[in-house]
Amino acid sequence: MEKRQVRNNIRKLRFYHGEMTQEQLAEIAGVTRQTIIAIEGGKYAPSLELAFKIALAFGVPIGEVFSYEVGDE
């Protein structure tokens, strides 16, 4: 079975939202900056609730922020 992993466009979306900082996004989503760094780097897959909060912070549907794709590894 092919291995899939959660990927995200957070870096791109932050750029399109006036270079929103990781700290600002963390504050809106109610998490620490370290968690945003881990999610953005693909090291941590967030819970569904946190994924919705991040999508809400950008004002886009969750599918535009996260996707479940076949991984490189």
Binding site: E27, G30, V31, T32, R33, Q34, T35, A38, G41, K43, Y44, P46, S47, L50
Partner: protein, 150 residues
């Protein structure tokens, strides 16, 4: 360095200090071969109480120092956001799990020494020793999980 990493470091350092104190007092007892229950139980009591007190004091002092450093850096009296999010909780839980496994193995080893004819005080000393080692392993594993992502 995040606030959680600092508090894990404080816990790690305090446990290492207590472990050092415990071994410093325990090893001479074993070398002399005069294991008496009064000394062993007193030492265990000191270690357990010191562990609790040092962890509480360490956390309080860490929070104070973090707030002072933050105030100096940002030149504002706004408090630092000390939140624990889902990833922090997950890392904490995984660390506790690793700690439990390490402690269980330690208890098993201590039991084996009793089975192989060592006095009960040796078993008791080893259980205290492995509880400290398990805490250190748990703290180190939290660093690893934090580095890995979760």
């Amino acid at each position: 360095m995040s606030t959680r990493k600092i508090s894990i470091s404080v816990s790690l350092v305090s446990t290492l200090l207590i472990l050092g104190y415990y071994l410093f007092n325990l090893i001479p007892m074993f070398q002399k071969g005069d294991l008496n229950s009064e000394d062993i139980f007193r030492l265990a009591g000191i270690v357990i109480i010191a562990s609790i007190v040092l962890n509480i004091l360490g956390n309080i002092l860490t929070n104070i120092v973090i707030n002072i450093v933050h105030a100096i850096q940002t030149q504002s009296d706004k408090e630092v956001r000390l939140i624990e999010d889902e990833r922090d909780k997950l890392i904490g839980l995984k660390g506790t799990q690793v700690s439990y496994v390490a402690f269980s193995l330690g208890v098993l080893i201590a039991m084996l020494t009793f089975v192989f004819g060592q006095p009960p005080l040796v078993m008791f000393s080893l259980i205290i020793l492995f509880s400290l080692i398990a805490e250190i392993i748990g703290d180190l594993s939290q660093f690893y999980f934090d580095y890995k992502g979760a």
